[in-house]
């Protein structure tokens, strides 16, 4: 099963919205998201309720969509809307009595980004959200690849996660290095047509296992879909685990993309846009077949294979 990428947009802690990933990857990462001006594309009545995470999700989605008609909206997010979750928790944890304000609650559900994209567009199409930690985006991508072949139409698929100051603080308390954290939203438009496509996604899979099974699982994944050995691996880890991947596939050039975008559960969406840019020849890195390996936590692996259309 395969699908074609026709457009994309990433909002992150660099100027990726305006200039893409390859052009900005060597610049210093800001402490916070660099937001474009949303007021141009989202009505004030909607934007006022949107946390920064929801704004970047809707913003990246609208920019990726452009003028195209869309018949599916599918989002992968590991943790969902944390700022709103914290806000609502604060209310009832700190106040034993009195009534509670509902806005933070309703904007905290994991499907808020996908729901708000639909609301902004007034689009009643297929709409889903996946939250399978390190493979949340792979979940979304699998669904999107199937859907665009089922209904032969444009599908908007994205990966998004935010990092709040509290999350950073708790991570530090738990002994983690705060520099590894990142956040961002990457949205892409897929469909079943090669004409005019930027790149082709030829495989997506997720599994659980240890490093001893990794090499054989990757081989099987490539064989099952008739895929040639990649000439570049984009590897994402969480900074706390190592999979031994570099040893297993030692003869293939490997770039750690988590070092570029920071660590967050759905960052393989960032890697997918980055891989497409590479395949399109947008930067100095050369490759025609890229395998994205996302190993967020010890045993969870996501695989995405992308090549020239």
């Amino acid at each position: 099963m395969s699908a074609y990428i026709h457009s994309y947009c990433t909002i992150s802690r660099r100027e990726t919205f305006a200039r893409g990933i390859l052009a900005t990857m060597n610049e210093k990462r800001s402490e916070t998201i660099i937001h474009p001006d949303f007021t141009m594309v989202i009505k004030p009545e909607l934007i006022r309720r949107m946390s920064p995470m929801i704004r970047m999700g809707v913003g990246a989605a609208l920019a990726a969509k452009g003028e195209r008609g869309i018949d599916g909206i599918i989002v992968g997010t590991g943790l969902g809307c944390m700022e709103n979750t914290e806000k609502f928790l604060d209310q009832f944890v700190m106040k034993d009595e009195g009534i509670l304000a509902p806005t933070a609650f309703i904007q905290s559900t994991h499907n808020t980004v996908a729901g708000q994209i639909a609301l902004t567009l007034g689009n009643t199409c297929y709409n889903s959200t996946y939250t399978q930690r390190g493979v949340s985006f792979e979940n979304a991508l699998t669904d999107a690849m199937m859907l665009c072949n089922e209904i032969k139409s444009n599908i908007l698929v994205g990966g998004i996660d935010e990092c709040t100051p509290l999350m950073t603080q708790l991570g530090i308390t738990a002994g983690l290095d705060s520099k590894i954290y990142g956040e961002g939203a990457s949205f892409l438009v897929l469909n079943d047509k090669a004409d005019g496509a930027l790149s082709k996604v030829s495989g997506c899979f997720n599994f659980s296992g240890d490093t001893s099974s990794l090499a054989s699982t990757v081989s099987k994944f490539l064989d099952n879909s008739g895929l040639k050995k990649p000439d570049l691996i984009l590897f994402g880890d969480s900074g706390v685990t190592t999979s031994g991947l570099l040893d297993l596939l030692a003869d293939i050039k490997t770039i750690n993309y988590s070092d570029i975008c920071g660590n967050y559960m759905s960052n393989s969406a960032f890697a997918l846009q980055m891989a497409s840019e590479i395949i399109e020849g947008k930067g100095a890195i050369k490759a025609t077949k890229v395998l994205i390996v996302h190993n967020f936590s010890d045993a969870d692996f996501g695989l995405i294979y992308i090549e020239k259309p």
């Binding site: 943790l79 009595e97 509902p102 949340s136 699998t142």
Partner: protein, 394 residues
């Protein structure tokens, strides 16, 4: 044609197994009562609680005392193990786990948060390791021994319905041969307070579709179904109980929480599911409605039902006056109830209904009824405009 259902499992306030749930549904009684055992409740909420403590569940499931496991995952394992009975993992059968949840580990996280915020106490910090939704699905999948294709859907109250339809699609598209699909959610302060802040939590027993309805009662529970392709069944040797023959997912695109007055998303979901199943509306023998008993939802759903079926609605009922609204698990719990309706050719009553709503011709079935049922429609509508419908067929 559809995809075969070859296993079902459920745990809810109505019972700890499929047969206990069936007995409760047939009895016309409701287990909804004052919620107990949850610390720091703001109000004496009533709801549908599963009558098993975490300790008892852990013992039954042989979960080590050191392991941090949220209640959602315990409920999931209990229901999934009933559904998975007689199934085995196999290299020849490509299998997926497609679960659903809205709270994930929140019932643990909110306890940490309270201590941390009020007393700067970090004692329960490691409880956050299972906060995210996927953690529970990993625990469930490890428990079942399934290591490939793990998914978690989180689309509020339509989550498990979307998990079921994803499984069916992945099988029909030959990506996998078998899937265990469903969802789980436990009661916690976050959701109890959340729905209360929207002023849609009834302090009394909820009244689905009744004109005097004031809101929902939450519930907790889990349910799973095993779906298989023909090839998989040849290897597993399992019988088909019925099939999932139709499905559709649409978005209301009206408001973040309220449903559109014309029931737009719901109408699209119901119509789409019938179309997928290749059925005209009169073929539906029973509708298990979403029927949360909120003023807004029930009216919107009634409107959608009238849009599709006219004024002559097929027999329908909401079972949420028995289970409470189990959020992400609802679509799966009600899918299992739909399967039972076909298997046993019965229609479950809509409890606590007396006064029909003024605006629509919409009167549910209120007593247990035997009927010839070939096809059942099950609706699940949620926040974020997410609306999904499923059709189950004999």
């Amino acid at each position: 044609m559809g995809v075969a259902v070859t296993g079902i499992g459920i745990v809810s306030a109505a019972g700890l197994t499929v047969s206990e749930n069936l007995a409760m549904l047939k009895s016309g009684k409701s287990p909804i009562r004052k919620i107990e055992g949850i610390q720091n409740l703001r109000k004496p909420y009533i709801g549908g609680q599963v009558s098993l403590s975490d300790e008892v569940l852990r013992k039954e499931l042989a979960v080590s005392t050191e392991k941090i496991v949220p209640r959602t995952a315990l409920l999931a394992m209990k229901a999934a193990s009933e559904a998975w009975t007689g199934h085995k993992t196999s290299d020849e059968i490509r299998t997926a786990v497609i679960s659903a949840t809205s709270i994930g580990g929140m019932e643990l996280s909110e306890q940490f948060y309270r201590q941390f915020k009020r007393a700067n106490d970090f004692a329960k910090l490691n409880w956050l390791s299972v906060h995210d939704n996927g953690a529970g699905t990993n625990i469930l999948s490890d428990f079942l021994g399934i290591n490939t294709w793990r998914f978690t859907v989180s689309t509020a109250c339509s989550s498990a319905a979307n998990a079921i339809l994803l499984g069916a699609r992945m099988i029909q598209n030959n990506v996998i041969d078998r899937a265990i699909v469903g969802g789980a959610d436990a009661l916690c302060n976050f959701t109890l307070n959340g729905f209360d802040s929207l002023m849609i939590y009834d302090s009394e027993w909820c009244k689905p579709f009744d004109d005097r309805r004031k809101g929902l009662n939450l519930g907790e529970g889990a349910a799973y179904l095993v779906l298989e392709s023909e090839e998989s069944r040849k290897i597993s040797g399992k019988n088909s109980i019925c099939s999932v023959s139709g499905w559709a997912n649409a978005n209301d695109a009206w408001h973040q929480t309220a449903s559109s007055p014309e029931g737009r998303g719901a109408t699209l979901a119901i119509t789409g599911a019938l179309q997928k199943a290749g059925l005209t509306s009169e073929k539906i023998g029973y509708i298990n409605a979403h029927g949360t008993a909120t003023p807004n939802n029930d009216l919107s759903e009634a409107t959608a039902l009238n849009n599709v079926f006219g004024n002559n609605l097929p027999p329908f009922s909401s079972t949420k006056a028995v289970t409470g609204h189990t959020l992400a698990a609802a679509g799966a719990i009600e899918a299992v109830y739909s399967v039972l309706a076909i298997r046993d050719q019965i229609i479950f009553p809509n409890l606590n209904f007396e006064v029909p709503m003024k605006e629509k011709t919409c009167i549910p079935v209120t007593t247990l009824t035997s009927a010839k049922i070939d096809h059942v429609l099950s609706n699940s509508f949620g926040f974020g405009g997410n609306t999904s419908s499923l059709v189950f067929s004999k």
